[in-house]
Amino acid sequence: MEQLKTIGRELAMGSQGGFGQSKEFLDLVKSIGESRSKAEEDRIVLSEIDILKRKLLEPDIPKRKMKEYIIRLVYIEMLGHDASFGYIHAVKMTHHDTLLLKRTGYLAVTLFLDEDHDLIILIVNTIQKDLRSDNYLVVCAALNAVCRLINEETIPAVLPQVVDLLNHQKEAVRKKAIMALHRFHRKSPSSVSHLVSNFRRKLCDNDPGVMGATLCPLFDLISEDVDSYKDLVSSFVSILKQVTERRLPKSYDYHQMPAPFIQIKLLKIMALLSGGDKSASEMMYMFQLPSPQLLEAAADAISKFLKSDSHNLKYMGIDGLGRLIKISSDIAEQHQLAVIDCLEDPDDTLKRKTFELLYKMTKSSNVEVIVDRMIDYMISINDNHYKTEIASRCVELAEQFAPSNQWFIQIMNKVFEHAGDLVNIKVAHNLMRLIAEGFGEDDDDADNKLRLSAVESYLQIISEPKLPSLFLQVISWVLGEYGTADGKYSASYISGKLCDVADAYSSDETVKGYAVSALMKIYAFEIACGRKVDVLPECQSLIEELLASHSTDLQQRAYELQALLALDARAVESILPLDASCEDIEVDKDLSFLNGYIQQAIESGAQPYISERERSGMFETTDYHSQDHHEVTSHALRFEAYELPKPSVPSQASTELVPVPEPSYYSEPHQPVSTSSSVSERESSEIKLRLDGVKQKWGRPSYQSSTSASSSTPPRAANGTSTHADGGVASSSSSKPRSSYESKKPEIDPEKQRLAASLFGGSSLSRSDRKSSSGGHKPAKGTANKPPKENPIPVQPPPDLLDFGEPTATSVTATDPFKELEGLMDSSSQDGGSTDVMGLYSDAAPVTTTTSVDSLLSELSGSSKGNPGTYQSQTSKGPNSKEALEKDALVRQMGVNPTSQNPTLFKDLLG
């Protein structure tokens, strides 16, 4: 770029140039430019503000001066200083007749004021008047102000004038009127909903500029409601045709390209319109080549982009690859080395885009490499916003594709360690549940192994300094639940570790709560096994400290722990059975076990409980006592609860702590209660008794109950810089030492190629697996109505990213894509796989846009004529790439973290 390089120009030119500034303005800019510190700049600006305050109050200021003062005000505000003292002068200027002042006034006002500012009321009238002005420049200035200053309430005041201006003789005015109307639509769609047809009409404006401007509102309207604009497809097609045939005036050319901005807008609109619509797409295909050729051309373009030295083009290449990968996976494979280069690129944007691409093409064969890479990157960046995103992606991929449990836990450990404060709390609860529930249905052995490996890894990590709170919660829970389960570690060892945690993070009450509960569980298991518990001195002191804690939660836990230590083995076992975290805790919401107690109380003359609602209701209607009496006599035991709600809470708790045989309560007859118990009473008893609290009191911070407790933790910015010691835990899961990726040899060194192979090719094992399975099914394929290629070796589906992948270019010939599609669907329904294919079709259709046909075709052809074995094994395995893609789309649409209950997770882990 040449134009900006002539910097050494004399200051003097400023005074002669353009819109005429005075020396003062130049001096101001110059002195601010030369100031060496923020303080100095502030001093200059403050003195300038003083000057302006004084000058603006002078009577009879010449116009040019006045304009300059306002510009100086604007300038000052841009530098971040308060110029509100001058707002009224700017408003006043808009009233002025001369264009110079009026425009300056409007400019300043649009920059200063927000649409709800008090001063707007002084401007609306002027705007109204100016919109009717004969001078079109005045009208333009007013329209400019309309866009910014008119709020929902004032729209009706200017709307008629703006609509009139749609037919103004100057195209500049028409353009701006459309934009203003568009702005109204954005602000308050209801206020202009009856005027939407104007946009359609203006699409046919004589001036291409007006037409181009109309595309902006139409894009918005169409993205809101596609169906009612289908009739415009042919218009858009013909406009695009005219543009590409260079029938627009030469001035629309931009670097020899015919009106590229209009073309882009048009294509975007057409993508919206054709999404999932066959007839609309057909109309557009009139001049866009149908699928395979187009796809090939796109692939060619992408390969050019990726080979380019320009980072912008590389970025476009990666972006395009990410889009094309949904349709044809071979393309990514061709460019694997380029993609890996992008991962090493110094350009952060490019790196992130590449990670996005990798995320899209993750499957079980390459998940390890990709997630490893992502974690390395996650550790290296400081941007918390992006760190959160990439952490949640790691978790999602790990949940979805984890090849082994150990690997999963290891990955989760890393994520927690390095981004623990950033991940969603649900992820932690998920992990706990996973460890608790295990993965296999019957395979207890594997579950125990998994738990042991988790415990081992946590014991190793626990002594690292400064772990994130969430991670510590997980660690404490797992240690408490399974720390001693295997018998490998003694209770005193684990409890010592837990005490250390509680001591080291004494400011974090949630962690402490988890630690105390874990201690309680460990002691409970010990007692239940009949072993003698010797409480370590540090544990004892911790408990004592917590008994006097300010946090009622901690205090309660400590008291419970103390009470538990005094109980005998049988009682303890029924309170905290071993490995029962997955068992449902039944909460008797009606507190029916108290019925006997109530019976007794009432028999001995106590007042029955009357719910609050009823009490107030009674007062409204008639005499409380007579009514009450009547009620009681008619339904003998209408009120199931107790006299005062409060005291019954401790009584309930104590009854359960002391193992009073419960059947005694149940033996009491309580039929009349259950028949008459009303909803309102149940509700009220729920509220009063706070059953959540009761449950939590039980020292069983299972994932549900702990949500409420731990969600109150203040987020801590602590960020463990320590690195996780590899090796000890489940090192067998990673197929390759990570250090090998780090080498940065130029060009195609073998390491890079290996990385490429693991990223793109999948492991060799899975490759051979798939080959054999597909080979086994080969003969069956002969019956499929679409003739498969006869020589089996080249046809072998490459172990690519999408698994569907037949090279589309070879499998599909260029006929009407829809015809073929229908044929495929028919044939596949005969194959008996109809539901799946239909599912594919209906799922994919709305997601993809103009190119949807291609993707459908490739998917369909891949699934129907390709190896059914692969396909089936995929569906049974759960996560296939289509699901992953859809999920990706959904996740990115919603901007949410991975769902807590991902059904595919367990399926995959099983397989």
């Binding site: 400023g14 130049l26 200021i61 707002y87 425009r103 993205s223």
Partner: protein
């Protein structure tokens, strides 16, 4: 929609800042500083696209171009095309270049109101209004001509002088 247009020099001094949705001055400053710190940390010869969700909220993207001592920055949402925005910067710069014949940072600093006029002709209420340099030039010239004509030596009566409005 375009959310903001900014120009700042390589020291981080804002030369122009226009936000198409109202933001209080402090927030504007914060964003300008944020953008500058991101831009200044990027190495030379890397791509011109950035995702900037952390500053401008979800689905915000940023395109910038670095000319000599100036950064030109456009912030926009997902309804705009990144490449189109990159070329819109080019259009803006080419227009300024024609306006000031060989534009440099000083022109931009000292012709603050003209700069706004040019920008308002290209981007209007957050939407791309005009991309033809000639057309923009014509409009700007017409405005300057009329403004010059209306600029006789008349005085501004100070009827507001004693009148304090504002916040």
């Amino acid at each position: 929609m375009i959310k903001a247009v900014m120009m700042m020099n390589t020291q981080g001094k804002p030369r122009l800042a226009k936000f198409y949705d109202f933001l209080p001055v402090e927030k504007q400053q914060e964003l300008i500083r944020g953008v500058f710190s991101v831009l200044s940390s990027r190495p030379e010869n890397v791509s011109n696209f950035l995702e900037i969700d952390s500053l401008f909220g979800p689905d915000s993207r940023l395109v910038y171009k670095h000319y000599a001592t100036l950064y030109f920055v456009l912030v926009f949402d997902g309804s705009e095309n990144e490449l189109a925005m990159l070329d819109l910067i080019q259009v803006l710069v080419e227009t300024l270049d024609k306006c000031f014949s060989n534009v440099c940072e000083l022109d931009i600093v000292f012709n603050y109101s003209k700069l706004h006029t040019v920008l308002d002709e290209i981007v209007f209420g957050g939407q791309v209004l005009e991309t033809r340099t000639d057309e923009v030039m014509k409009a700007v010239e017409e405005i300057s001509k009329l403004e010059a004509a209306s600029n006789s030596i008349s005085l501004v009566p100070k009827s507001v002088s004693g009148w304090r409005g504002g916040r």
